[in-house]
Amino acid sequence: MGIRAFKNDEFKDNDTLEQFKHKGGNIILTTVDGLINWGRKNSLWPLTFATSCCGIEMMAFGGSRHDMARFGFEVYRASPRQADLIIVAGTINTKMAPVLKRLYDQMADPKYVIAMGACAISGGPFFLNSYCVVRGVEHVIPVDVYIPGCPPRPEALMYGMMQLQRKIETETVLHKKDTVKEYL
């Protein structure tokens, strides 16, 4: 089965993606893909976007013990226009959601999203009874990798980032990544 027969939503787990990748393709295209993806995956610049507790674990990941610089993630950018990756670390509420959407729109392609922690995945501890929390950041922007935990350990974030690297490796220049999401 060709890769195009699948809907976009079904490309979610890395194993399936890699299977398609190993099926082979045009020799020139795969070489170009390999080179571009190698560059992209090893210089992911995250945006400094931390709303709450998970931001502290994100800082700990950047700190001395866990040292995200080993993977090429260390350049935190304050401006979304220079960032490749947005790590949504913390709760997003209805007042913050338009701001997050705008930040995501300001980022240049290719751009990736990691939903870090229970709040960004589903609202987490604020899922029930809260009147203003957005139940999951995927209602606002498309998410590539989910990292569970409240807050996730820096090691969990590290694993999530490595999963994102795997995902980037399976991309091809032929198909543009779908980064548009209908806003609620």
Partner: protein, 374 residues
Amino acid sequence: MTEEISSVVEVDDQEYIINFGPQHPSTHGVLRFVVNLRGEVVKNLQPHIGYIHRGIEKMCEKLTYQQIIHLTDRMDYLSAHMNNEAVCLCVEKALDIEVPERVKYVRTILDELNRIASHQLWWCSFGMDMGGQTCYFYGLRDREKILDIFEETCGGRLLLSYNTPGGLMWDIHPNFQQRIKDFIKYFRKKLPEYDKILTGNVILQERTKGIGHLSLEDAISYGVTGPTARASGFSCDVRKNYPYSAYDKVDFKEILYTEGDTFHRYLARMEEMRESMKILEQLVDNIPAGDFTAKMKPVVKLPEGEYFQRVETSRGELGVYIISKGDKFPYRIKFRSPNFCNLATMNLMASGFKIADLIAISGSMDLVIPDIDR
């Protein structure tokens, strides 16, 4: 937005308004300042809050007292243990329960460890605000040692949820005391490094001395607490004035300065780390044997009435006010968070200074935004 500002403040042709935040690395979260500038000088500043408002107070009305604990450490996540303790102490006070001595000692030790961890993180982010990236790595290196102690005993690194009304969730780990002694020995050597790298730095001193002055009168009338107020000479340490847990058994100094500028707010926090280590040294060897929790019913029902308890978090005074109607849920719960009151003085401190000084001033306040919005 311009209309809403100009209705409050007169804006003439020479002034312009900039938005500072909500996504800005120096606001340490999602705080937004609307700043009126004349040239480079701040004329007026309005904080806009609510970007991380999660309705914790309202949610608490549908939760039992044991469940509330898990929401409170998501408010001021850097002093998670103190937030838990505040609710626990309030519930214990209402039920008139005497917790075992062991619990009081362990709670106090964890309070102080949490305070050191919080100040270390403040120090490294304050250094980064001032442009010193090295501080970030030094601060986090030592903070991980404390997080190891937390992880071993409480199971969590950042959000502990180790307290429960009546005592602790489980007993301390056998390594607990030895680990703390090792940490104190280690950190006593490392703290002078902090002074070497940042306190004596000319750039830091030039940028903070005489900047963002807060007078004693203003500190009192705005209800500022914590190291921010103590740098202005306002003696407001709850640990000293209204001792709770085991604070009446330890000897420590309340750090007071009278200058009230950014540099002395910095010094107050640095000195607090030393005092916290002193408290730890006095307590760590004397943890009495006994139960780790008092006898509690699985469902706690508070008698009808109003209860208030305050504790000193690493940012100031946290008050918990519970109104109970005799149910297993609180009728109303209100948190008096230190950051919310401290934030109110921002306009007072930053007006008349350059916009670059605003970063130093807000950094020295050590704001935690989810604690402001709740």
